[in-house]
Amino acid sequence: MRFLHIVERAYRATAEEQDDPIVWLAGCMRQAGAELDVLLRANAVNYAVRQAQPVALTVGDWQQTQPPSLNTDLQRLQAQGVHIYLSVDDLYARGITESSLIEGINLVSMNDLPELFERYDRLLAW
């Protein structure tokens, strides 16, 4: 059985969790043997920007030492055989160019989505 995690709402507790909770969930499920891929939509397309730099949080004398690095987390998923799809319409709407993305991202248009969805047994839209 194949799953597709659809990550649409971005930056949901990423500073606290030091990752995106759904990208993390996908990594855990993959480690457990699940066959899955990830589709980034809406603001989550920004996760794949190559030059995005993690910024550490400071609260009083508390200093974050492992700020989230979302493009690195995507690359880690890719290394585990997970395909990362990205909505090119959402990318262009935000003025982000294809050349600014990490390697190996599969760009899909809105028109491609029905065919993409047909490849999976479960669509998990977050």
Partner: protein, 136 residues
């Protein structure tokens, strides 16, 4: 001249939203600028000070407990308490008691008060201005 003072009401729980780190950054900035700060933690925000929060390792990141150094909001609140003390500012944090009971998060870190909306009303009267950040 009296120090400036701000009240904050916050509704979001830990580990759900980027509003939570933003809220803490605002508190940090207010204290660093010498403001007295009063907080009314409402609904899920009462869990921010729960004393039993525990860090964890992260196998997805390939990091053990120590190297993951997982953030905990109870530690952020404690850091703000220390910052307020260094700055000579008043820092009051009141958890809504009914919200605490609903969630069973009764064990708060030291220095946290338990109260009611009446405390929020008092905080508003005592301070120069207020910011409410509700759950969305």
């Amino acid at each position: 001249m009296a120090r400036p003072s701000l009240s904050f009401a916050f509704m979001d729980p830990p580990f759900e939203s980027e509003r939570t780190p933003t809220f803490f950054r605002l508190l940090d900035a207010a204290l660093r600028r010498g403001c007295d700060v009063r907080v009314f933690a409402y609904e899920g925000a009462v869990a921010l000070t729960f004393a039993r929060q525990k860090p964890h390792a992260n196998s997805v990141h390939d990091r053990d407990l120590e190297s993951e150094n997982h953030p905990l909001t109870r530690e952020w609140v404690a850091a703000l308490q220390r910052l307020a003390e260094q700055q000579g500012c008043r820092f009051e944090w009141i958890n809504c008691g009914l919200c605490v009971d609903e969630r069973g998060v009764n064990e708060a870190i030291a220095g946290i008060g338990r109260g009611s909306p009446a405390d929020f009303a008092r905080q508003l009267l005592e301070t120069d201005n207020a910011l409410v950040i509700g759950t969305r």
